[in-house]
């Protein structure tokens, strides 16, 4: 389990993350949702070990992150940041194989081929990373991150994703979410910051609603993503519809003018 207990992070006197407690179980996809400035990225960086966690306690499979060797940590969790830029002309497959730099698997080539096929980037393998489109770059980065934890192992591993679908078109977004969903069978726990509430509602197992550094709600997706909870977090009216358990969830918002009582009539030119 990836377990964070009462973690806090301050910039000056302002709490960015305020006594947050989080559990991510292997085999589950947990979505972090919240408005801009809620502290999602800071929380993410604390959990990944990038920022030192001074107050509170973060453990991976019971081992505290504090004092853990960088290489040991890399064998337990992989991280995909929002943007990665490359300085030098590397090929896509070189970027992906970097994910294997310390795991030293038996069949590195097979893993690279599998993760690149899964992210639909295998046909781009010989191209220079710099020449790819935004969405292609993001899929290559995802392939690199997947390579790090792709091998099936008894120890639970974790994948932290910061808006993994942000430069992708609709079809790719669903495709990526499906791939991420399949990782659950590999004894991997996934934590993803997601912007798209519908993607979160339909792919995640659990949701974590964050506002002003506080975890307001945490739990199974249908229990956490109620209209009241979402409105409280985003300060905007949202409707949540579903035709019963198991059926897809639709989350929608309308222009504020449409939700108010004023009626507008449009004249056709």
């Amino acid at each position: 389990m990836l377990d964070a207990q009462h973690i806090q992070y301050y910039i000056g006197n302002r709490p960015i993350v305020n006594r947050a407690s989080i559990q991510v179980l292997p085999g589950e996809l947990t979505a972090i949702l919240g408005p801009n400035g809620a502290g999602k990225s800071t929380l993410f960086r604390l959990l990944s070990g990038e920022l030192p966690c001074k107050q509170g306690r973060i453990t991976y499979n019971g081992q505290p992150i504090k004092g853990m060797k960088t290489r040991k940590l890399a064998s337990l969790r992989a991280v995909m940041p929002q943007h990665s830029t490359l300085t030098f002309p590397f090929q896509a497959k070189e970027v992906v194989s970097l994910g294997l730099m310390y795991s030293r698997p038996k069949y590195p080539k097979t893993i690279v081929k599998e993760v690149m096929s899964a992210t639909q980037t295998w046909h781009l393998k010989d191209q220079l990373y710099g020449n790819l489109s935004g969405g292609e770059k993001q899929r290559v980065q995802l392939a690199r991150v997947l390579a790090q934890i792709w091998e099936i192992k008894a120890t639970p591993r974790y994948l932290l994703l910061d808006e993994p679908t942000s430069s992708m078109d609709i079809a790719q977004q669903h495709h990526i979410m499906q791939i991420i969903g399949q990782l659950k069978q590999r004894n991997i726990g996934i934590l993803a910051i997601l912007h798209d509430l519908n993607l979160a509602a339909n792919y995640a197992d659990k949701a974590l609603l964050l506002k002003q550094g506080r975890v307001l709600h945490q739990g199974a997706i249908r229990a956490a993503m109620t209209p009241e909870n979402l409105q409280g977090v985003f300060d905007y009216p949202l409707s949540v519809q579903s035709n019963g358990p198991g059926a897809p969830i639709y989350i929608s918002s309308l222009p504020s003018s449409a939700t108010s009582s004023t009626n507008y009539t449009y004249k056709l030119a």
Binding site: T70, L73, S84, K93
Partner: protein
């Protein structure tokens, strides 16, 4: 199909490195024979073989002396210094994540030069240095100067894991100017003996090579270069970003210290022996990346070989164009390097994408 993915070198990479190595050996053999005092190729080979105890032909004693006492140490020193400049340029570019970085441009060389001059001028006030370190004192002092400057530049230009290239170049310009001014000041206070030493050093070039220098360079340039080359995997990871490298298990801080420390050592020692030689560290890694890709597994050892080749070629030119006189080698590398640098500045946006 997937040759590039294993952790051993690929066939292509090995081939490129072998070709560079063979080219370097051939150039070395050629350089041995050419010069104000030409030595026929057959004689040169015989002299080399006779050192190994193989008697294979005739040569005069004068030829043997020129080859053994003057030319061979000179070529070996050019190989070590040029290789060191190449590999430290490649590693610093990888660490700063910027293709414009070069030991001369970011002030490492000038820091080394300043401390070398200070030691030459005021060294007699610190006789214990010479007693402890012997002929290693000058190179070691130059290393400290290079280290101070490279640390300062790194601290100034690196903000939140990202290197600001304008800050980097400006910091390099400022430190180079300051070092230059302090060198002038040190010379102002120099007495006549120190001044003579300084003049001798500043005209040093690789022409001042002798076996003592080659031995010191071998210890203080070749081995640190190997340590830098060993960082290839970490530098590859750093190309994606410092945070990403950390996520993949790289101890980023440790890599930084190894590369900064070893580069300062390699460059400082080189400067203490040959004076400042610019642009080798800039051109060499770039040519390799442009031709064979950015994988540091090839770029780092390749930069050593190509840097050695380039400096040897430049030295051959320097001592033949105005024969029997000699041009300072820095002039040749600057004439080749400055237009290349300008081209690079104009194209760096495109290269970065």
């Amino acid at each position: 199909m997937l040759q590039n993915l294993s952790y051993s070198k690929t066939a292509q990479q090995s081939l490129v490195l072998a070709a560079l190595g063979i080219g370097l050996v051939l150039l070395g053999l050629l350089s041995i024979t050419i010069g104000a005092f030409p030595i026929p190729f057959g004689h040169a080979v015989s002299i080399l073989l006779s050192q190994l105890g193989i008697d294979s032909g005739t040569f005069t004693e004068q030829e043997a002396n020129v080859l053994w006492q003057i030319r061979l140490p000179r070529i070996l020193l050019a190989i070590l210094v040029g290789g060191g400049l190449g590999v430290s340029g490649a590693a610093l570019q990888g660490l700063f994540r910027n293709p414009l970085v070069e030991p001369g441009l970011i002030g490492v060389s000038s820091g080394g030069a300043l401390f070398a001059v200070i030691y030459i001028v005021f060294g007699s006030s610190f006789p214990w240095l010479g007693r402890i370190f012997g002929s290693f004192s000058l190179p070691l002092v130059a290393f400290i100067g290079g280290l101070i400057n490279v640390m300062l530049v790194y601290k100034m230009a690196n903000q939140g894991g990202k290197t600001d290239i304008s800050l980097l170049i400006l910091a390099g310009v400022a430190l180079t100017a300051l070092s230059g001014a302090l060198i002038g000041l040190a010379i102002f206070y120099a007495d006549e003996a120190a001044l003579r030493n300084f003049t001798f050093w500043s005209l040093g070039d690789v022409g001042g090579a002798n076996w003592d220098k080659v031995k010191i360079a071998f210890i203080l340039i070749f081995f640190p270069s190997l340590l830098i080359i060993k960082q290839f995997r970490n530098l590859n990871a750093l190309a994606i970003g410092e945070n990403e490298a950390f996520h993949m298990g790289v101890d980023v801080q440790r890599v930084k210290y190894i590369v900064l420390f070893m580069s300062a050592l390699v460059v400082g020692v080189g400067v203490s022996m040959t004076g400042t030689i610019g642009f080798v560290g800039l051109i060499v890694p770039h040519l390799l990346r442009l031709s064979f890709g950015a994988d540091h597994r090839l770029v780092l050892p390749g930069a050593f070989l190509l840097g050695a080749f380039l400096l040897n070629g430049a030295d051959l030119l320097a001592r033949t164009v105005v024969m029997p006189a000699e041009l300072p080698i820095g002039i040749i590398t600057a004439i080749l390097g400055s237009p290349f640098f300008i081209w690079l500045i104009l194209h760096v946006k495109k290269l970065n994408s």
